[in-house]
Assembly symmetry: C2
Homo-oligomer: 181 residues x 2
């Protein structure tokens, strides 16, 4: 069976700085008309910066929608036209004050495929050096170093609640065990 839902028309309902929203008319696989609410997002990256002795650099920051200070790996939105690898290197500098020679891809994460177009490109990177941070206007972050083995436990037991961070920590831990990073 073909599950494809066919696009008919798009009604733009909200245009923001971070995302926009449309309500689309579609045709279901059974031929019936229906509507889909969609958050349009340009995508993001998340990077796991690793020291030579396998400690990860995280950031703590307040997340307004959750009303919580959260522990996350450095991450950020892809600017229009930007290569995700460049976003990763930029966010590493801006949020964590860290540089790297190479970002190794660790898959692409779909956080909310039911209603959002967002894709998050995951990377692991050996830390090359340090530099001054350069946070976005209104962005307040604190850098925290956690040994990879401890972070792996926190991803498994749910202490790390941020989805992209937990997933990337587990993939990086496996890669390090297998000598791939």
């Amino acid at each position: 069976m073909d599950f494809t839902e066919k696009f008919v028309s798009r009604d733009d309902r909200f245009k923001g700085r971070i995302f926009s929203v449309s309500v689309d008319d579609i045709i279901q696989p059974d031929g019936k008309p229906s509507k889909r609410e969609v958050v349009h997002h340009n995508g993001a990256v998340c990077v796991a910066p690793l020291t030579d002795d396998n400690t990860l650099a995280f950031v703590r920051q307040y997340r307004y929608p959750m009303a919580e200070v959260m522990l996350e790996l450095p991450a950020g939105r892809i600017e229009p036209g930007e290569d995700p690898v460049e976003t990763a290197k930029r966010e590493l500098i801006e949020e964590a004050g860290l540089t790297t020679i190479e970002c190794i891809p660790f898959g692409v994460d779909y956080p909310t495929p039911g209603y959002s177009t967002e894709k998050i490109y995951l990377y692991g990177a050996r830390i090359g050096g340090t530099c001054p941070t350069n946070p976005d206007e209104g962005e307040f972050v604190e850098k925290v170093y956690i040994p990879l083995a401890e972070a792996e436990e926190m991803a498994y037991d749910g202490t790390i609640t941020d989805s992209k961070t937990a997933m990337l920590v587990l993939r990086v831990a496996k890669a390090v065990r297998e000598g791939r990073l």
Copy 2:
């Protein structure tokens, strides 16, 4: 330092069936006024239904925002006032035609804490029996069984792109290895 962003006022900009959107006036930690775009979502659940011989029941379904058929564990939105455990049991029946005695919690996942209030409650469950499926109007899903060990590889290598699914598969695989599920 206190990173808290203080709520000032809320401007409702979109009211949908799945989510709503507001633009809130806030005060940053440095005292400056700013705005936050927020997707308001009632939360969701995701369940890993496991057979006695450690095979997982997945669903394949078309995700309109991604324009892809995706492999996911059964999941769905929490109805207002509904206990997440009840949502999990309901979705297991509706999407997969499976019943269970008990849902074991595997943490709470924040898929997009930067701009959405959504929390996803993760559960693992031993399959108790089968029953007719009862999909939502316009929901077309196909059940697929995959051995846990194979699913774990697919979560690690990025073949599973759905964030909640990948995370839950890895937590369940560890729990089964340790005799906790």
